[in-house]
């Protein structure tokens, strides 16, 4: 196992990684910008190196500074965390070239999954379903009808030039297709200069469901079940839960083993997440994240597996050491992402935390780098705390979320705690009956 690991990130995820290292007896090096000198992970680290001024491009995205920091501190490995350089294949390569271990997948896998098209192509080859569509533009109704029959109605008619929903039409039958195709082609020509249009399966109200996988790069890959991340606002996840209230045991096992099987074939190493849209009982791959995710704790709570600890073990060359059959998913977990934002306008609210008190007790986990007197800097994203709740049942979990939100004190700045309090009282959420569009409709409703 490593003696010393450099954590190339900030905020709660840097603290999360620090904790895992500590629990494995690994010394930590915190790198930080001048804006994060007082950050909790910096205060707790064994060694710290200031790598640049506040702007991320000059500090947390500064490859030379981070590699040099590893050099002067004698760290053996670098954990990229998430965001910043975590999915940068070149960075992973440079880290390895300089003789450090990159705690994550191989640069090749990062690159492969980094591009949506190559990722889709790769996973379809591995037998994972993607959103069906016509390979090339459909020239006339005859071709369109053939393609549409293959894809299955309803189909979306998209301008090849694409963009902004312009020229998009939804055809629910061949009749509609016949009527709408010329219109779509006309609009396409008008907006984008060429009338070429594609057909794609139309998903009206899908859920966002993702599968957490862990591979040791030696052929062993397991999944930790799925996470339902359908509660989003402008493509940002707000609250995640596992298991998904929408899936039954069979669907869970189906998509889980499909994902794990594909990654096994790929020889995938470290933690990764395959994201799917889910509608009408069908899963459609959208992308893969070749890194730790913000919402990883919900999978940890139901599986009892410390994902960051596993990343470290795997990076150090250890085999997984367990099989899918050894993994038992128990109870229900929910993560509330608490942002330093106005709960109504969502305007960022950096500043000094004048009062801080985290909830405690049974089933309550708080992943946060906040403390009383800390100043939330204005330079980085607004996630300041993750309230993670575990319960025997989804209902127990919901009751506990309410209880914990009520105890949570973060004063001096605006936070999205009130939004979560509203959310956990919403009938549609309580019933687990929501899709990726629901939360925004809910937020816009007065209340």
């Amino acid at each position: 196992m490593f003696e010393k690991v450099l954590i190339a990130n900030r905020g709660e995820i840097a603290l999360r990684i620090h904790r895992a290292c500590r629990e494995m007896g690994i010394k930590t090096v915190a790198v930080h910008s001048t804006a994060d000198t007082d950050a909790m992970n910096v205060r707790l680290a064994d060694e710290t190196v200031c790598i640049g001024p506040p702007p991320a491009r000059d500090s947390y995205l500064n490859v030379a500074a981070i590699v040099s920091a590893a050099r002067i501190t004698g760290a053996e490995a670098i954990h990229p965390g998430l965001g910043f350089l975590s999915e940068n294949a070149d960075f992973a390569g440079i880290v390895e070239e300089h003789g450090f271990t990159f705690i994550g997948p191989s640069p090749e896998h990062i690159r492969l999954m980094g591009d949506k098209l190559s990722a889709k192509a790769a996973v379809s080859r591995l037998g994972i379903p993607t959103v069906p569509g016509s390979p090339e533009p459909v020239r006339d109704l005859a071709a369109a009808a053939v393609a549409a029959r293959e894809i299955g109605y309803p189909v979306l008619i998209k301008a090849a030039g694409g963009g902004g929903g312009r020229g998009m039409k939804i055809a629910r039958s061949e009749e509609e297709l016949a009527r709408l195709l010329p219109i779509a082609q006309g609009e396409a020509a008008a907006f984008f200069g060429k009338d070429a249009v594609y057909l794609e399966r139309f998903l009206a109200r899908p859920r966002h469901i993702e599968v957490q996988v862990l591979g040791d790069g030696k052929g062993e890959v397991v999944h930790l079940g799925e996470r339902d991340c359908s509660l989003q606002r402008s493509h940002q996840k707000v609250l995640e839960e596992a298991p998904s209230p929408a899936l039954g045991l069979e669907e869970r096992q189906f998509i889980g083993s499909l994902a794990a099987g594909a990654m096994r074939e790929l020889g995938y190493k470290s933690a990764g997440t395959l994201e799917f849209l889910y509608e009408g009982g069908q899963f459609y791959f959208i992308e893969m994240n070749t890194r730790l995710q913000v919402e990883h704790p919900v999978s940890e709570m139901i599986s009892g597996i410390d994902i960051v600890c596993e990343q470290l073990r795997i990076a150090a060359g250890a085999p997984l050491g367990y099989r899918q059959s050894d993994i038992r998913l128990e109870g229900h977990a929910i993560e509330c992402r608490i942002n330093a934002e106005n709960p109504k306008t969502f305007a960022p609210s950096p500043g000094r935390v004048t009062d801080y008190h985290a909830p405690g007790g049974l089933g309550v986990r708080v992943d946060s780098a906040l403390y009383q007197g800390y100043r939330v800097p204005p330079y980085y994203d607004s996630l300041i705390s993750k309230l993670i709740i575990h319960g025997k049942t989804r209902n127990e979990c919901l009751m506990r979320v309410r209880r914990a939100l009520e105890e949570y004190v973060i004063a001096g700045i605006d936070t999205t705690i009130p939004l979560h309090q509203r959310l956990v009282e919403a009938a549609r959420f309580i019933d687990g009956d929501y899709d990726i569009g629901w939360l925004e409709r809910f937020i816009d409703r007065p209340g």
Binding site: D38, L44, D46, G52, A64, I72, T73, G373
Partner: protein, 155 residues
């Protein structure tokens, strides 16, 4: 290691102070004291200074041995202090045993090389931002430096 030690600076919102001062004036009071929770403000005219809350315990963190500390974000490097523009290893001479680039007391020209910082096998020359004399050398040969570390004082 302790966190949460750093308390806010004892500078209250100036607007609040002005408001209260105006109220003193208007009402002819000599003093207004107001507290909410553990925040407290007191303004007075011709009276003793307000009580001050105890200083916070300092946060102790094991720092990178030998590395000079960076200047805090707000601070502006005091005139003449040359700080490290990058993380790396500082060298005061072109190579082992060679004479130093500059010695204490040397008169130097603007743009003259003061030292080298090696980062990712690249030797970066750090040059004098202005003419003057080398008043202090704040880093040792071969020592690791972090961004913003004070290297030399030129006056």
């Amino acid at each position: 290691m302790r966190i949460g030690g750093k308390k806010p600076p004892l500078t209250p919102d100036p607007e609040l102070v002005r408001t209260l001062a105006a109220l003193l004036q208007e009402t002819g009071l000599s003093e207004i004291e107001y507290a909410v929770g553990d925040c407290r403000i007191r303004v007075a005219r011709n009276t003793a200074a307000p009580p001050v809350s105890a200083p916070p315990p300092a946060a102790e963190t094991a720092k990178l041995d030998g590395a000079a500390r960076p200047l805090a974000v707000e601070e502006t490097p005091s005139a003449g202090v040359v700080t490290a523009p990058m993380v790396g290893t500082a060298y005061l001479a072109p190579q082992q045993g060679a004479p130093l680039f500059v010695k204490l007391g040397d008169e130097i020209a603007e743009g003259q090389v003061l030292l080298i910082i090696e980062a990712m096998k690249v030797m970066n020359q750090i040059r004098a931002p202005r003419p003057g004399h080398v008043r202090r050398i704040l880093v040792e040969d071969g020592a690791p430096v972090e961004y913003g570390a004070a290297l030399m004082l030129i006056e």
